[in-house]
Symmetry: C2
Subunit: 297 residues, 2 copies
Amino acid sequence: MRNDWKTQMKINASLVEDALARYLETPDEDLSVLYEAMRYSALSEGKRIRPFLVIEFCRLFGGTAKEALPFACAIECVHASSLIHDDMPCMDNDDLRRGKPTNHVVFGEDIALLAGDALITKGYELAARNPFVSPEIALGATAMLLKNAGGFGMMGGQQIDLLGEKNPVDFPLLLKMHAKKTGALIIASALLGCYAAGIASEEDERMRDAALYAENIGLAFQVIDDILDATSDDITLGKRVHADERMQKTTFLTEMSVEEAFTYAKQKTEAAVSAIEKYENSAILADFAKYLLERKK
Amino acid sequence: MRNDWKTQMKINASLVEDALARYLETPDEDLSVLYEAMRYSALSEGKRIRPFLVIEFCRLFGGTAKEALPFACAIECVHASSLIHDDMPCMDNDDLRRGKPTNHVVFGEDIALLAGDALITKGYELAARNPFVSPEIALGATAMLLKNAGGFGMMGGQQIDLLGEKNPVDFPLLLKMHAKKTGALIIASALLGCYAAGIASEEDERMRDAALYAENIGLAFQVIDDILDATSDDITLGKRVHADERMQKTTFLTEMSVEEAFTYAKQKTEAAVSAIEKYENSAILADFAKYLLERKK
């Protein structure tokens, strides 16, 4: 019998954390501060959603967790790097993340900046050096990851978000911002799973279905985030609610009512599920998409 | 007749700048600020030493500038990214670079941080997507670049440098710091040229000679940098001099006199030249090594 998604997510997270701890060992005592800062963020508590997608898409298309693991660690390094830089005083200036002091609070801004640089570079390198796939696959996966993380992907979304704090963001730009800022790495996760399973072309129908699933759950996730910020309370959510309203940020709720937004998220979730349900053993990914819609925090 | 190194460096720089301008075009008007910041630093005045090495090592071993160009642009993006982040207030806090205001002075710290992230990612991506080499070569070159730029390479050297501002650095650690902080990218440049020429293994004698040349000119370059910082002026150098003294940094001049340091740099230059002189048409690289020794800025 297959595990349910929650059990499997814990198993995958544990695999990823063990591998990351090895990949991020200090290679030279003179570099111990930098590597400690890298480990601090990459190994801090988290659900490991992106690695989960890498591993489960690899499994969906006939691969194993072992083949997917270097890619799963790669995407987590890229994600963790973006959080370090996002939290810095010149960006969001957050001193707490999931109840722990942020990287720059612990290590200083200079080391945090470097740790973010080194962690993203390590992530890309783990992808390029995945020993369980062919050179063509490793190269395709790495080039895709670089594109989705870079200025036209995640980092481009961060730029739109930053400028949006000064200038009004309309709905099409809000969609573009989310598609890049969070969507690009979610899509990269699903595609890395496909690459790990040996699918070499992004024109392959399985790759396109994986991207469609990822794009839709990414959007639904963001809509629910906005709804929870507006309707939940501090205790349930585990962070301060109404932040969007206080910051006068454009969100999905600037454009539509809570009910309309939930319907919109539901449609996106259905689109995600229908992109993959034709594949055997897709239940775990379908259940995960439904969980993201129904979550209360 | 072959061009002398100075003429060739100008030709190569112009090729690289034209290509970089294309590679860094704004892909979407909503991302124009980020891409403008990326271009501002990548295309700012510079000698393009690293791209010169990429192209000339490619030529030395039978390749063409065309094959080397994506790698040459890649290394320049990685280098420019490191300068953006190095100049930030939390790092060296420099407001002037090559006679121009630094990136964060023009675009703000938030955009500068992002532009550094996006530029290094673009550099890696250009290497991975070099269309003129085989997938094996592109992958080998990219993995090597990532290793030399990352926490065990350039960024590791930056960490040693940063901590050295608080704790005394002895001479062996100073050498390690330079080998990583600047040496790793100089070596990467020479090796990228070899990869572009179709040499696939770093065990190949030509790769080892290229690395030896690069390691030695990198060291000589750094010694001369320390000498110029101590003995030149702002206008000649195009940046603020006596920075090392103000920051109470360990340099080669902490260990030896200006004369001894120059002799040391001369020995390294000779070692560099002797690593490559057995190859036909190596004069341009030999002359370049000698120029680095004699330069006044």
